[in-house]
C-alpha cells in the first residue's frame, strides 16, 4: 500500500516536468515580441523615432527582467553553422532574419559581419541632419521657398535611406536584398552629400557578395548540440534567479501584458468566485444524481427508468452554452420574463462591502441561480449515468446475491450493501473540481459575465495575454494531476480489492 503510494507520487514528478515543458514551449512560440507588448502597455507615447530612442533603455531593462537575453533551454540542438551567441541579438525580427540568412549561407562569421556592417551603416545614416547638410551644400541660398524645397528633398532622401537600411535587417531573400542595395547605391551616387557613407556601403556590399561566395552550406547539414547550463529562460521561468524573479515553483508566473500586474495576484483575486460556483454546483449535482442513479438502477428496465434515462441522455447531449443562452433569453429578458438579472454577480450600485455574510449572499442569490443551473445540469446528467451504470454493475455481483439469498429486504440490500461500493467511481469526478475552478467555466462565465477565472481567461485570449494563458494551462494541468493523485490514493485506501502491481 505504502509502496503503491510512493510509486504513484514518483510518477507524478516527471508528469509535472512534462507539463511545465509543454507550457514553456507554447509560451516561447507565442507570436509577437513580449517587450513590445509590455512597453506598449506601459503607455509610452510620442513618434516612433522618439520612442525608439527614449525607451531603448527601458526595453533593455524589461528584456533583462524577462530573461530574454538568455538562451532558451539547457541544451539546443542546432547545426554547425549557428553560433552559440545567436540568442544575444535583441530584436526578435532581426534574430529571425539572421537565422534565415545563416540557414541559407551556412557561414556564421560572414553573416555576423554583414549584419554588423548594416548596423554601422544604419547608425551613420541616422546621424545625417538635413539642416546641416543644407548649410554645407548650399551656403549661398537665400530664397526661402527654394530652401524649403531643398530641405524637403534632403529629408526625403534621408528617410528613404533609413527605411531601406532598416528593412535590410529584416530581409533574407537574395533578390530583395539586391534590390534594396541598388536603391541605396543610387541614392549615394546621385547625392554628393552622402559620399562619406560610401566606404561603409562598399563594405556592406562586399560582405553581401561574400554571403554567396563564401557560403559553407554543408555546415547546416551537420547537427550539433549546444550546452548552456542553468542560465537559461526555462530555468529562470521555473526556478527564478533568487532576486526579482521567484519562478513558477514559488508562485511567480510573471506579469500580465494587459496591465503589467503580477499574474498570481490577478488569479488570486478571481479564483474565489469560480471556486465557489463550482463547489456549489458539484454538490448540487451529487445531491440530485445519486438518488436518481440509485432509483433507476433499482427499477432497471421499468418505464420510469427508460424515461429518466432518455431525459438524462438528452440533457447530457445539450451543449452548456446553448442552455445558458436559452436561460438568459427566457428568464433574464425584458421581452419574455425578467426574473433574474442579466449579468454579473452583484449590483454595483447598491452592493456594500460592509454587509455581513448573509446579507451579501442574499443579495447575490438571484445573480447566481441561472449560472448554477447551467453549471449543474451537465455534470448532473453525467453523474447520474455513471451512478446508474455503476449500481447495475454492483447489483449483479455475487455478494449482493448472497445478501438477497439470506433474506434481506431489497431496500437494505441496495442502501447498505450496494450503495457504498457504487459510490467509488464518483470519487474520480470529485477530483476534477479544482481544475474546473481554474478553467472549466469559461463559457458559462462569459455568457453570464461573471467576473471569475473563466472570464479572465476569455479576455486574456482576446487580448493575446500569453503569460496569463500559459499560467492557466500550467496550473490546471498541475491541479488535474494532483486531483488524480489524490483520487488514486483515496481509491487505494477505500477499496482494497484494487491490485497495484
Amino acid at each position: 500500500m505504502l509502496k503503491y503510494v510512493i510509486k504513484r507520487i514518483l510518477t507524478f514528478i516527471p508528469m509535472i516536468i512534462a507539463i511545465s515543458l509543454i507550457a514553456f514551449i507554447i509560451s516561447i512560440n507565442a507570436p509577437g515580441d513580449p517587450v513590445e507588448r509590455l512597453t506598449k502597455s506601459a503607455g509610452s507615447e510620442g513618434t516612433a523615432d522618439e520612442q525608439s530612442g527614449a525607451s531603448k533603455k527601458e526595453k533593455q531593462e524589461i528584456r533583462k527582467k524577462l530573461g530574454l537575453d538568455l538562451p532558451i533551454f539547457y541544451i539546443n540542438i542546432s547545426n554547425l553553422s549557428v553560433s552559440d551567441t545567436l540568442y544575444k541579438i535583441q530584436d526578435r525580427s532581426h534574430k529571425d532574419n539572421i537565422k534565415k540568412l545563416v540557414h541559407k549561407c551556412g557561414n556564421w562569421n560572414v553573416v555576423s559581419e554583414y549584419y554588423k556592417s548594416i548596423l554601422t551603416f544604419e547608425r551613420k545614416s541616422k546621424k545625417l541632419i538635413a539642416e546641416e547638410i543644407l548649410i554645407q551644400m548650399y551656403p549661398e541660398i537665400d530664397s526661402n521657398q527654394n530652401r524649403k524645397k531643398l530641405l524637403n528633398d534632403i529629408n526625403e532622401t534621408i528617410n528613404q535611406i533609413g527605411f531601406e537600411v532598416g528593412s535590410l535587417c529584416e530581409t533574407s531573400e537574395s533578390n530583395l536584398i539586391d534590390l534594396k542595395l541598388n536603391k541605396i547605391q543610387s541614392f549615394i551616387d546621385s547625392n554628393s552629400y552622402l559620399t562619406h557613407l560610401k566606404t561603409d556601403f562598399e563594405k556592406t556590399k562586399k560582405l553581401r557578395g561574400d554571403l554567396i561566395s563564401e557560403a559553407t552550406k554543408w555546415k547546416t547539414y551537420i547537427p550539433t548540440i549546444l550546452w548552456y547550463g542553468t542560465k537559461n529562460q526555462y530555468h529562470l521561468w521555473l526556478f527564478g534567479n533568487g532576486k526579482d524573479r521567484k519562478g513558477v515553483i514559488r508562485g511567480d508566473f510573471g506579469i500580465s501584458y494587459i496591465d503589467s500586474q503580477p499574474i498570481s495576484s490577478k488569479i488570486w483575486d478571481k479564483i474565489g468566485i469560480s471556486f465557489g460556483l463550482s463547489i456549489i454546483s458539484i454538490l448540487l449535482a451529487y445531491l440530485v444524481s445519486i438518488p436518481i442513479g440509485i432509483y433507476s438502477a433499482y427499477k432497471k428496465d421499468s418505464k420510469t427508468d427508460r424515461i429518466t434515462s432518455l431525459v438524462l441522455f438528452i440533457l447530457y447531449s445539450m451543449p452548456s452554452f446553448f442552455v445558458g443562452t436559452v436561460l438568459l433569453l427566457q428568464f433574464a429578458n425584458p421581452d419574455n420574463l425578467s426574473w433574474f438579472p442579466v449579468s454579473g454577480i452583484q449590483d454595483p450600485t447598491i452592493f456594500d462591502p460592509e454587509w455581513g455574510f448573509f446579507k451579501k449572499l442574499s443579495h447575490r442569490i438571484p445573480y447566481l441561480i441561472l449560472p448554477i443551473i447551467t453549471y449543474t445540469y451537465g455534470s448532473f446528467a453525467f453523474l447520474s449515468r455513471i451512478m446508474r451504470i455503476g449500481m447495475i454493475d454492483i447489483v449483479s455481483q455475487d455478494y449482493i446475491r448472497t445478501a438477497r439469498a439470506k433474506g434481506l429486504g431489497e431496500k437494505k440490500v441496495i442502501l447498505k450493501h450496494a450503495l457504498r461500493n457504487s459510490l467509488l467511481p464518483i470519487i474520480t469526478v470529485f477530483a476534477a473540481i479544482f481544475p474546473m475552478a481554474i478553467g472549466g467555466s469559461i463559457i458559462i462565465e462569459m455568457i453570464f459575465s461573471i467576473p471569475g477565472m473563466g472570464l479572465e481567461i476569455f479576455t486574456s485570449i482576446l487580448n493575446k495575454d500569453y503569460p496569463m494563458i500559459v499560467t492557466v494551462f500550467t496550473l490546471s494541468g498541475f491541479l488535474t494531476m494532483l486531483g488524480y493523485l489524490i483520487a488514486d490514493i483515496l481509491y487505494a485506501v477505500v477499496d482494497p480489492r484494487i491490485s497495484y502491481k
Binding site: 507554447i26 441522455f313 447530457y316 446553448f322 446508474r388 485570449i461 494563458i469 494551462f473 494541468g477 488524480y484
Partner: protein
C-alpha cells in the same frame, strides 16, 4: 440449423441488434439526411439561381465556378453587360425564366434591405428588379430570419452542417489514426515482447532525433513558406518532411544490421507500452478545452487547425480501448497461429488482430465525433480559433447571445448543434450495445 450457423457473421448479428433499437435507427437516417444536406449545401442555399435565362442566354450559375465572368450579348448580338458570378445581384436582373435554390441566399451574402435582425415572421423588405422597395415575396422571404448584417440564417445553418460534419470526420480521423496505431502497438507488444538488438534500439532513437532535425528543423523555413502560400502547400511540405523523417529512421535501422559485434547484438526489450501509457496519462491530465484554447490562441485562426488540434488531443480514449482489446487478443489462438506461421508482427497486427479489435474503437470514435462537434461549436461560440468569416453553428449562436432579441439566432443553431450531438451519441450508444452485449446496461 447447420445452415444458419454457417452463415452466422458477427457483423450481421450486430447490425440486427442495432436495428432493434428504433431510436438509433432513426438517428442513423437523420445522420444520412445531414450528410446529404452537407453534400448538396451549395445547391440548397445559394444566391445564384440553379437555372436561368437572361437576354436569351441559358445559364446554370449555381453550378458554375464562383469567380466566373461572362460577357452577355442579347439576341441581336449586342453587348449588354459583364456578369461576374459572385458579385452580381441575380435578383435584380430581368430573368425571363429562373429556378432558384430552395434557400435563395448564400451564407455570406448580405441582404441590405433586411439588416438588423429581420425576424422570421416579421416584416421583411425586398427590392424588385424595377427598383421599388416592396414587402418581400414569399419566395425570397428569410424563412429563419437574418442576423445584424443581413445574412440569411437558414443558409448559414445549411452551410454550417458541412463544417460540423467535417470537423467530426477530420478530427476523429486523425485521432483514430494515432489512437489505433499507438494502442495496437502498446497492446500487442506490451513491455516485454518487442525485442530489438541493442544497437538497433539506440540507432532508432538517434534516427528519431536526426529525423526531427533534418525533416522538421532543417526544413522549417520551407514549411513556414509553404503555409504562407496556402494551407495545401503547407501540408504538402509537412508531408515531405514526414517522409524524410521516416526515410532517415529506416536508413539508420538498415545501418544497424551491418554491426556484428556481439555485445551490441544483445537483445533488449522495448518498453513501448510504458511510453504509450505515459503519453495517454499526460494528455489526459491536461483539461482538453484548456489545451485546445491555449494552442489555438497561439496559432493563426483557421478551421483546419482547429480540426487538427481536436484530433491530436483526442486520441487517448481510442488508444486505451485499442490497447485493451489487443491485450486480450494477443493471447488468442488465431494470433498465436499467425505468429507461429512466421508472419511478421506488422501483418499479424493489422491483418489478423486489428479487424477483431475495432468494435469498441468504433464506439469511442462515434462518441468522439459528438464531443469534437461540441468542442468546435464551443470554440466558435467563444470566437476562438475559428475565423469570423466562416459561418458555423457556434458563431451564429454567439451572434444571438449578443442580441437576445434575435431569439431565432439562439434557437435554431442551438437546436442544430444539439440534434447533431444527440444523433451521434444515440448511434454510439446503440452500437455499443449491439457490438458488445456484455456492456449493455
Amino acid at each position: 440449423m447447420d445452415k444458419t450457423n454457417e452463415n452466422f457473421s458477427f457483423k450481421k448479428y450486430a447490425w440486427n441488434q442495432f436495428k432493434k433499437n428504433k431510436i438509433a435507427l432513426i438517428s442513423l437516417y437523420l445522420l444520412l439526411f445531414l450528410v446529404i444536406i452537407a453534400l448538396f449545401a451549395p445547391y440548397l442555399a445559394n444566391d445564384r439561381p440553379l437555372y436561368c435565362e437572361y437576354e436569351g442566354n441559358t445559364m446554370y450559375p449555381a453550378f458554375a465556378d464562383e469567380t466566373r465572368k461572362d460577357s452577355i450579348f442579347d439576341k441581336n448580338g449586342e453587348f449588354v453587360q459583364v456578369l461576374q458570378y459572385d458579385i452580381t445581384d441575380w435578383r435584380q436582373l430581368n430573368l425571363s425564366k429562373v429556378i432558384w435554390a430552395p434557400i435563395p441566399y448564400s451564407p455570406n451574402s448580405m441582404d441590405r434591405y433586411n439588416r438588423d435582425y429581420a425576424a422570421p415572421g416579421g416584416k421583411q423588405r425586398y427590392k424588385s428588379p424595377s427598383g421599388e422597395i416592396l414587402d418581400i415575396p414569399n419566395r425570397f422571404r428569410h424563412k429563419l430570419g437574418t442576423d445584424g448584417i443581413g445574412r440569411d440564417l437558414a443558409s448559414g445553418l445549411i452551410h454550417g452542417t458541412k463544417i460540423s460534419l467535417m470537423v467530426g470526420l477530420v478530427s476523429m480521423g486523425i485521432a483514430a489514426l494515432i489512437g489505433i496505431i499507438l494502442g495496437a502497438l502498446a497492446g500487442f507488444f506490451g513491455d516485454n515482447k518487442l525485442k530489438m538488438t541493442r544497437i538497433k534500439y539506440y540507432l532508432t532513437i538517434i534516427g528519431v532525433v536526426l529525423g526531427i532535425f533534418y525533416g522538421f528543423g532543417f526544413r522549417k523555413y520551407e514549411i513556414s513558406n509553404g503555409f504562407n502560400d496556402g494551407f495545401n502547400s503547407g501540408m504538402w511540405e509537412i508531408l515531405i518532411s514526414f517522409v524524410l523523417f521516416l526515410i532517415i529512421i529506416i536508413l539508420l535501422r538498415l545501418i544497424s544490421r551491418i554491426f556484428g559485434i556481439s555485445s551490441f547484438n544483445k537483445e533488449i526489450f522495448v518498453p513501448i507500452d510504458t511510453f504509450v501509457s505515459r503519453g495517454i496519462e499526460l494528455l489526459n491530465s491536461i483539461p482538453r478545452l484548456i489545451l485546445i484554447i491555449t494552442i489555438s490562441a497561439v496559432v493563426e485562426p483557421s478551421i483546419w487547425i482547429v480540426m487538427v488540434i481536436i484530433g491530436v488531443t483526442g486520441w487517448t480514449r481510442i488508444a486505451r480501448f485499442t490497447r485493451a482489446e489487443f491485450l486480450r487478443i494477443r493471447s488468442l489462438e488465431y494470433v498465436q497461429a499467425a505468429q507461429s506461421l512466421g508472419f511478421s508482427s506488422i501483418r499479424t497486427i493489422f491483418k489478423h488482430a486489428l479487424p477483431n479489435a475495432l468494435a469498441p474503437v468504433f464506439v469511442s470514435i462515434a462518441f468522439g465525433i459528438a464531443s469534437a462537434i461540441l468542442i468546435e461549436s464551443g470554440l466558435s461560440f467563444l470566437g476562438i480559433g475559428v475565423p469570423d468569416d466562416i459561418v458555423t453553428w457556434g458563431n451564429l449562436l454567439n451572434l444571438g447571445r449578443q442580441n437576445l432579441e434575435a431569439w431565432w439566432l439562439i434557437l435554431y443553431p442551438g437546436l442544430a448543434i444539439f440534434f447533431t450531438i444527440t444523433i451521434y451519441n444515440m448511434i454510439a450508444e446503440a452500437s455499443r450495445d449491439a457490438l458488445d452485449p456484455k456492456l449493455k446496461s
